[in-house]
């Protein structure tokens, strides 16, 4: 699929020859992949394949040793984390990363895309637009009744939803989710899949997930990573029948 090099502008995200080395160990080694607008791409692979590191590289948490990451024609490898967010890339972490000391409302408010500079934050007003948007999102993430609750009192699943809600408010063009259904009960998992199916419209999504049923449900294309390299890429059907993939991953 990515055999012929195409000008980067055609893709929303182009990752080319991406390499990062930690003390000589190449966690990600010459990875290439391209994500189209409105595409849902799932990254799978065994533990230690470099999946989370790829997301860390895209969002600027880890700096690449070599290679390039272009998002809408802009080179992300040299931008600060906050500028990458402002460019339109949102990231959900593996463990729910929310603010325990703030209420659900305040958690969502911080992600509202306005007043992100020091002076902007000082002048920020909680107007009708902000409130309406927060209520709207709270309803989507099943937390409407908990807006005034401190986030630390939420259950694990609710915390995951809250973080997804924070990203929704942020409204990124590329949404990166790291194991969004890990550690959830069966009913929470079902609700989350439903939620994700709603929010992935009109944006590109990059998901890391182990739950194969879930991957089959949502993925447009799948990239399989193994030992820091792309092992296989294509539709779920294609990947499932790739002997290399069966050997290292699905066969177990």
């Amino acid at each position: 699929m990515n055999a012929t090099p195409t000008p980067a502008q055609d893709f929303l995200l182009s990752v080319e020859d991406l390499t990062v080395s930690f003390d000589g160990f190449k966690a990600v080694n010459g990875v290439n992949f391209y994500v189209d607008p409105n595409e849902i791409r799932v990254i799978i692979g065994p533990n230690g394949a470099g999946k989370t590191t790829v997301l860390d590289l895209i969002c600027g948490r880890t700096r690449a040793t070599a290679g390039s990451i272009r998002f809408r024609g802009r080179e992300l490898t040299r931008m600060s984390e906050s500028d990458i967010v402002l460019a339109g890339v949102g990231r959900k972490f593996q463990n729910p990363s929310i603010y325990d000391d703030l209420t659900v409302f305040e958690n969502l408010e911080i992600s509202f895309p306005r007043g992100r500079s020091v002076w902007g934050a000082l002048r920020f007003r909680r107007d009708a637009e902000v409130r309406d948007r927060i209520h709207e999102v709270a309803e989507m993430i099943f937390l409407k009744e908990h807006l005034q609750a401190r986030a630390e009192f939420l259950s694990h699943g609710q915390k995951q939803w809250l973080e997804i809600g924070m990203l929704l408010i942020q409204d990124p063009e590329l949404l990166m989710l790291d194991e969004p259904v890990a550690g959830m009960s069966v009913s929470e998992r079902k609700k989350t899949a439903e939620l994700l199916n709603r929010i992935i419209r009109n944006r590109s999504v990059l998901v890391i997930e182990h739950d194969m049923k879930f991957v089959e449900d949502i993925a447009h294309r799948v990239t399989v990573l193994h030992q820091g390299k792309v092992l296989s890429e294509g539709s779920m059907e294609h990947v499932k029948n790739d002997p290399k993939v069966v050997e290292v991953y699905l066969g177990h």
Partner: protein, 376 residues
């Protein structure tokens, strides 16, 4: 819906503010003699530092163990102006170089150094009292926070900077007055600051400035910036990956704390009549952290009460058992950290208010107490 949940001051805040204003502006001036009132005024100048620490440490999670540095810089700026005014040619005609501060003359300095020149002007001095410490905080903050230095490493570096500043001041005695500091200050723009009347007026100016700073801190606390500080303390990475340049927010909190401390330092110089390196270094800096901790590190009002309580205890104890005081202070800090992590404010919030609510409930309907993070 119920969304006017973010007023400038809640009812509890109003009550706390009224109580503090009554105590500082009415009860103390009426109940204390000039000497004691001046002493309280001196304590209250430390409360500015504690207030800054509430924003910087309590809210932002940035523990600075070098706030004495900013207190000192503000105080020295004020002292330099007062010293120049006291060092007229008339007053210093016995010196070999009349018209310069006495300690310069003793150190064979024959002309006023360049950095003393701006302190001839009162307007410029008032500006520099805040601008110099804030600019210094900006420099330190930018150097540290942009490099992601945080937590205990930041605390150690601030402590080192405070220590360096003390050594610098003591070592350069020709320019700074050395270990004795800048003493023998007399008048402010011709107005004698040593009289009882002046001390009373300065006490009120100090109290009013403190209340003003509390209101400024309150407006920061209740803005989105205040909530971002709390969020940063909790999950710095989440804030960063929500599109905020975390370093800028830390720098802001650190500069605000420096600005408050500097105002306190300048008021100290005016009320006490001198400034010396013993208010700049590690010991005073750590003591000021204890004031904020005792008061409750997330309570703006608690910072004032914590400062008054610890200093009151210090004065009372060190008069009777001077050698035991430091142990007492250490024990107090350990007790606060282990038993009352929210300090006095936590006691009021979690014990006194629910108790008062129950007492009131006996007479009328129950008074609900909002749980969670509110200032006392």
């Amino acid at each position: 819906m119920m969304q006017n949940d973010n007023p400038f001051l809640t009812r509890l805040d109003w009550l706390s503010l009224a109580l503090l204003a009554a105590l500082l502006l009415v009860a103390f001036p009426l109940g204390l003699d000039t000497f004691r009132l001046n002493l309280v005024g001196k304590y209250l100048t430390y409360a500015f530092v504690a207030l800054g620490l509430v924003i910087c440490w309590g809210y932002g999670g940035i523990l600075s163990l070098g706030q004495g540095l900013f207190f000192g810089l503000g105080g020295y700026c004020m002292a330099m102006f007062l010293k120049l005014e006291a060092s007229t040619v008339e007053n210093t005609k016995i010196q070999s170089t009349p018209g310069i501060p006495d300690f310069m003359d003793w150190n064979q300095i024959t002309a006023l150094p360049w950095f003393w020149q701006p302190f001839h002007s009162l307007a410029l001095t008032l500006l520099l009292v805040v601008a110099v410490p804030v600019a210094f905080a900006l420099l330190v903050g930018a150097a540290m926070f942009k490099r992601r230095v945080s937590g205990v490493y930041f605390a150690i570096i601030t402590q080192a900077i405070a220590a360096i500043m003390t050594i610098l001041i003591v070592g350069q005695q020709g320019y700074t007055g050395g270990i004795n500091g800048i003493t023998d200050l007399r008048t402010l723009a011709g107005w004698d600051i040593r009289t009882d009347g002046a001390k009373l007026l300065l006490y009120f100016v100090n109290a009013a400035l403190l209340i003003g700073c509390i209101l400024v801190a309150q407006s920061v606390r209740r803005s989105k910036l205040g909530r971002i500080l709390v969020a940063m303390r909790d999950k710095e990475d989440r804030v960063r990956f929500s599109g905020y340049a975390v370093a800028s927010f830390k720098i802001f909190a650190f500069c605000l704390a420096a600005g408050f401390s500097a105002i306190g330092g300048a008021m100290f110089t005016l009320q006490v009549g001198f400034m010396s390196p013993s208010f700049v270094g590690i010991t005073p800096s750590i003591e000021m952290v204890i004031y904020a901790a005792v008061g409750g590190r997330t309570s703006l009002f608690g910072a004032v009460y914590g400062t008054l309580l610890v200093n009151g205890a210090k004065t009372a104890f060190s008069e009777s058992f001077p050698e035991l005081w430091l142990f007492g202070l250490g024990a107090l800090f350990i007790a606060v950290v282990l038993a009352f992590p929210d300090g006095l404010a936590g006691l009021v919030r979690n014990r006194l208010l629910p108790w008062a609510g129950r007492m009131l409930a006996r007479g009328g309907k129950p008074a609900p107490v909002r749980p969670g993070m509110v200032t006392k």
